[in-house]
């Protein structure tokens, strides 16, 4: 049984007590201690900046050309915080409860409570940095609602909340770079963790411009490298998002937890053809005002606007009257898939449903009319006023939709379909965010800790920043306090030498395959296998087949991939090959995990386990645990369980009806 080192005491006091009693490192010693941060998204940039401010010597790494590019930047909708500014009954407990329930009771109570506790501090910190959140006319911060909750606790900056929060963290990071506390390594990719006496003491990184391998020492290594959604090839992740850093950690002994818990986001622009390289999300905030529907009749041929109300099926409002269009993501996605599979899908592919703004435009138009005290207003004028309001709220999203599809979403309903968006699984970490390798930490989406089997909207930004700004500054010190007695390890140490050789050998091996097929073609094939068998719904037979298919694909990859160019130069195809090789191995583990979890929960839906109404059927008696996998050999993992104890919340069948 794994020990998560959860502090004793009441849930409300665990974090307070921890902070009051954890060990500290004095300022003079911090100045002598190097810490490595890999990844500069919300978790990485906030951690690097905060640790730099505290006095640690930080080395930060990102594979992009600048830390500001990290994919946190693409988050649209918002960030949750239990501020209760709207006086609508919100509280730390309610945010904690919603997150646990939204995660279908597969997250750790103590971590989630801590997340809810620090959520308010995040908003304060970001405001102080100058993050331009949306405001009301009185000058105070504005909120909106998001899926899976009944309060308005989401703070936002139009449809660019992730961008604004990341720029805030990036600026804090650059300030520390200017002060000399953080050394920034852009266009660098971590390719291995270096362990000395069982502890993480550094990394091997590749300079992506020159191809050179570099050795970097650190008293601790923080992986803030995001999720692994790109295993599916098509996802809303950035093209460069990858699992490589986390996977190297896994190979060095860090357990990988709940890899099959992946989130399929309900509102994305549908696939248009085989050329598609990525999918684009339309923010969940659109479900605040938009209504989702499909035609009621099979074989409907009329255009969306010509289908009368009586012939429309608002299936989310029908199935879930209490939450309607704002049910959690896993529920909304499955409901859309169900309708499409039953033949009611729309568009040329029939793999899409409508997201309709006509009602919202009219409603907002009428509000404007009354706000402005107008009379004798024609229907056209009402619509025009309504469009203005919608434009202010969601303009950038509507523009994006128009550019991609060539259709005007102010006039015709948008077509949407679920797409891979986020991965709840990740490296197993304890309460201190430490993996099973001492000295190696995982923050943000890279760890598994807070979202259980399904993440609620506007919670990823919250978790990334909570981990980086408010958790790791305490928990890291608690462990580094004992490290002050150990001298830094020179990078000439045999452990560094051996690690560099392993990395160099693998790159040479990859390059020398000289086969016929491109990296991209392998990635696409992997994606299809995983999407079909380990996507929105899974079966025993399908998963077994997928495992065999992925194993065969791995063999083929290592004997027939073609990588052009040289090793010692800027070579994006080589970088990609390194990443796809790791995705293939991860894909197998995802299927192994999905096969072992004989229940349905959150984003993990096994067709064999469902209620008569088609809802996910959990098996708390047998599967109330975190599945943490230890790599034993090629294709061989050992399962370690962390039992989930619910002291405060009573798990029940999730009900959004």
């Amino acid at each position: 049984m794994l020990d998560a080192k959860i502090p004793k005491g009441d849930l409300d006091n665990k974090w307070v007590d921890y902070k009051g009693h954890c060990k500290l490192v004095n300022p003079a010693n911090k100045r002598k201690m190097e810490v490595i941060v890999v990844g500069t998204g919300l978790a990485g940039a906030s951690a690097a900046a905060s640790l730099g401010e505290m006095g640690y010597k930080v080395k930060a790494f990102c594979f992009q050309d600048s830390p500001r590019r990290a994919h946190s930047i693409a988050a649209q909708g918002g960030i949750n915080a239990a501020k209760n500014y709207q006086n609508d009954g919100d509280s730390i407990f309610r945010l904690f409860y919603d997150t646990i329930k939204g995660g279908d009771y597969r997250a750790r109570e103590a971590n989630v409570h801590r997340l809810a506790e620090v959520s308010s501090n995040i908003i304060d910190q970001c405001v102080a940095q100058g993050v331009p959140f949306a405001r009301e006319y009185g000058g105070l911060l504005s909120n909106r609602s998001f899926g899976g909750t009944q309060v308005q606790r989401t703070f936002y900056a139009a449809g660019q909340t992730g961008q604004q929060l990341l720029i805030g963290a990036y600026q804090a990071l650059e300030r520390q770079v200017a002060l000399g506390n953080v050394q920034m390594f852009a266009r660098h990719e971590m390719l291995d963790v270096v362990k000395v006496d069982g502890k993480a003491k550094g990394i091997i990184a590749r300079n992506l411009v020159t191809g050179e391998l570099e050795r970097h020492f650190g008293y601790a290594v923080l992986l803030c490298t995001g999720g692994y959604g790109n295993v599916y090839y098509l996802s809303t992740n950035a093209m460069g998002s990858n699992v490589t850093a986390a996977w190297k950690a896994h190979k060095q002994g860090a357990f990988f937890a709940n890899p099959c818990f992946t989130q399929i986001h309900p509102t994305c622009i549908p696939v248009s053809g085989d050329h598609q390289s990525k999918l684009t999300l339309m923010s969940e905030s659109l479900r605040n005002d938009g209504r989702i529907w499909v035609p009621k009749n099979l074989g409907e041929t009329r255009k969306a606007n010509e289908i009368p109300e009586a012939d429309r099926d608002y299936f989310l409002e029908r199935r879930y009257p209490a939450f309607g269009n704002l049910v959690p993501r896993d529920v909304a996605s499955r409901a859309a898939k169900e309708r499409c599979d039953a033949g009611f899908g729309v568009g040329t592919s029939k793999q899409a449903v409508y997201l309709d703004y006509a009602a919202a435009i009219e409603r907002y138009g009428k509000t404007e009319v009354s706000k402005k005290g107008l009379s004798n207003v024609s229907q056209e004028e009402i619509i025009a006023l309504g469009k203005e309001v919608v434009k202010e709220k969601y303009g950038n999203l509507f523009d994006m939709y128009a550019k991609i599809t060539g259709e005007n979403p102010y006039e015709v309903p948008m077509r949407i379909y679920p797409a891979v968006h986020y991965t709840m699984g990740g490296l197993w970490v304890d309460y201190e965010l430490q993996t099973t390798v001492p000295g190696l930490y995982a923050l943000g989406e890279a760890n598994f800790s807070d979202h259980g089997a399904n993440r609620l909207g506007a919670s990823a930004l919250m978790q990334g920043l909570a981990d980086g700004y408010f958790v790791i500054p305490y928990t890291l010190g608690n462990n580094l306090a004992d490290e002050i007695y150990n001298a830094p390890i020179p990078t000439s140490h045999p452990a560094f030498e051996a690690a560099e050789k392993t990395v160099a050998d693998r790159i040479t091996r990859l390059k020398n395959i000289n086969g016929k097929q491109t990296v991209e073609s392998f990635h696409k094939r992997l994606g299809k296998i995983i999407w079909n068998e380990c996507g929105m719904s899974r079966t025993e037979a399908g998963l077994k087949q997928a495992i065999a298919d992925v194993q065969a694909l791995k063999k083929e990859f290592w004997s027939d991939v073609r990588i052009p160019g040289e090793i010692n130069e800027y070579n994006p195809e080589l970088d990609k090959a390194n990443r796809v090789a790791d995705f293939i191995e991860l894909g197998e583990l995802m299927c192994v995990d999905a096969l072992a979890r004989e229940e349905s929960c959150g984003g993990h839906f096994r067709e064999e386990y469902q209620t008569p109404e088609g809802e996910a059927l959990r098996d708390d008696k047998n599967f109330m645990y975190v599945a943490a996998w230890e790599l034993k050999n090629d294709h061989e993992w050992a399962l370690h369980k962390e039992e989930l104890k619910y002291d405060v919340i009573q798990p029940s069948q999730r009900n959004y009806k």
């Binding site: 093209m239 460069g240 390289s277 684009t280 550019k403 991209e520």
Partner: protein, 253 residues
Amino acid sequence: MSHTTMNLNLKVWRQKNTKTPGAFEMYRVENISDEMSFLEMMDILNEQLITEGGEPVAFDHDCREGICGMCSMYINGKPHGPWQANTTCQLHMRAFKDNDTIVIEPWRANAFPVIKDLTVDRSAFDRIIQAGGYVSVNTGNAVDGNSLPIEKAKADEAFAAAMCIGCGACVAACKNSSAMLFLSAKVSHLALLPQGGPERKTRVTNMVAQLDKEGFGACTNTGACEAACPKEISIANIARLNKEYIVAGLTSE
């Protein structure tokens, strides 16, 4: 909607590295759907090149949804191509016709050296931010977010400036390779908000000094930057930057 396909001639800048001189190469791609994004068309070119035993064209890209600021192609004489308020990754092939010849170049500016083909080094932008593009507030120092009401109009204006994605199109569009629009967006974002108040003078002075040091050209107010900006950052920000700079200079102690 009906979809069409097209065949295209591509005239692409190829350059092995910073030190080696580059040149244009001609390529042909066929059966390109008008539903593809421009970068998906480039993916097809690269798959073709790799399969034929050639070297793919290196270009920067990441989010492919117009927000990370990484993509950076100069297409038919315009940064990010023909569409207004758009990034290369969001440009779709509907913008082109069968048998068009498309010229694709990297950003051209001394301050943005070419790394390879269409990839350039924009780290100068990071160094400009390091010179003062932040509010000096350590983690944990903040008071309650609502203790500082900010006039909505001001907050919206600050947000409009803060939308800059740091792509460098403004520099590529400018005949002087000036980075004034980029700089002014950050100076404006922070000057418009009370949080930016205490460091207002040192920020603008230091950031302008760094801008000059990086070798960007001067601004002659032609407005090409604003026209090319994918986020429609207004040139009015440059006026505000100039005001901030002059005030800082006149009132320095």
